[in-house]
């Protein structure tokens, strides 16, 4: 029997969040954490969480499992369970709406700030804007982000300043458009980032790199942004 401890909070009924202990019979199988949650929900339908694709593509089931952020659907028990115990909490640092569901508004507001769409003020060509394979390769490791928020909610700088520090996820996307040779707004984008908070609250702790379920490296992208700012200003 796996000992599962789940964070519960229903603001309509509970004055405070609490941890609920539940025993789950996994039948000795190495299930994914999401499977365990589904088993629990089939017993107690009030347990609430987000999920959709169940294969690490949609980014909706970012959770904190035994202290580490990740996607429940692609985290096998063998990777996270220690001493037969599994503690499941919502992503840290964001307001809890109910149980494992957090309010992502602050996360999306930061994402919105980096204008995550291609901007090009030159006349559109007849067919499409072409890119060389080398230029296209610069977007690898950036475009794959699924906005699961595992990284930003693992970042202490984002916990303390979620309104002012863009956070690893937003900055990875900022660099995705700075690195895009088809984008012509580079100067304006950089001008928006040169304050003491937006980029420079990153202290290179690398929690973001440590948790990203897609294996991306926001710290490296942040370093590239810093270098672009530096070469522009010196």
């Amino acid at each position: 029997m796996l000992q599962v401890s789940i964070y519960r909070y229903n603001p309509e009924q509970d004055s405070q969040p609490y941890m609920q202990d539940i025993q789950v019979d996994t039948g000795g199988k190495d299930l994914m954490v999401l499977d365990v949650l589904e088993m629990i929900k089939s017993q107690d339908t009030t347990v609430t969480y987000r999920r959709s694709c169940r294969e690490g593509v949609c980014g909706s089931d970012g959770l904190n499992m035994n202290g580490k952020n990740g996607l429940a659907c692609i985290t096998p028990l063998s990777e996270t369970v220690k001493n037969n115990k599994l503690v499941i909490r919502p992503l840290p640092g964001l307001p809890v709406i109910r149980d494992l569901i957090v309010d992502m508004t602050m996360f999306y507001t930061q994402y919105e700030k980096v204008q995550p769409y291609l901007q090009n003020d030159t006349p559109a060509p007849a067919i499409e804007r072409l890119q060389s394979p080398e230029d296209r390769a610069k977007l690898d490791g950036l475009y794959e982000c699924i906005l699961c928020a595992c990284c930003s909610t693992a970042c202490p700088s984002f916990w303390w300043n979620p309104e002012r520090f863009i956070g690893p996820s937003g900055l990875l996307q900022a660099y995705r458009f700075l690195a895009d040779t088809r984008d012509t707004a580079t100067t304006e984008r950089l001008a928006q980032l040169d304050d003491p908070f937006s980029v420079f609250r990153c202290h290179g702790i690398q929690n973001c790199v440590n948790v990203c379920p897609k294996g991306l490296n926001p710290t490296r992208a942040i370093g590239h942004i810093r270098n672009m700012l530096l070469s522009r200003a010196t």
Partner: protein, 120 residues
């Protein structure tokens, strides 16, 4: 763009660069002082060392680097932990109080260091 009037250089980049440059200067100064006092030092050699103008200028540079480094570092810590977000309005009062205290302390140390360096 997040505005901030209490950071050292107003721009995130200039603060970041200054933090790195001042760290290098401080490291160089620590190496220099350690090398100078290695194998013992007495009053005569210490006085001779600091009567040279370049040593005083280097020392002053180190003091100014320390001042900038300390302000940038303390400012980052204070705007992380003493905030309205974490402690309500009290955070603002505490933060501004500590910022004044820090800048005053740094100022006193800088002036005092200049006095020491040029009083030999």
């Amino acid at each position: 763009m997040v505005t901030s009037v209490t950071s050292f250089g107003r721009s995130g980049l200039s603060d970041w660069l200054l933090q790195r440059v001042s760290a290098v200067i401080l490291l160089a100064y620590v190496v220099f002082i350690t090398a100078s006092v290695w194998g013992g030092v007495d009053f005569v050699t210490w006085k001779a060392l600091f009567s040279q103008t370049w040593v005083r200028i280097f020392s002053l540079l180190a003091v100014l680097s320390l001042a900038a480094h300390a302000w940038i570092g303390m400012w980052a810590v204070l705007t992380d932990y003493l905030t309205e977000r974490l402690m309500g309005t009290k955070g603002n009062v505490l933060r501004i109080g500590f910022q004044i205290l820090c800048s005053l302390t740094i100022f006193v140390y800088v002036v005092w260091s200049i006095q020491i360096l040029w009083s030999y």
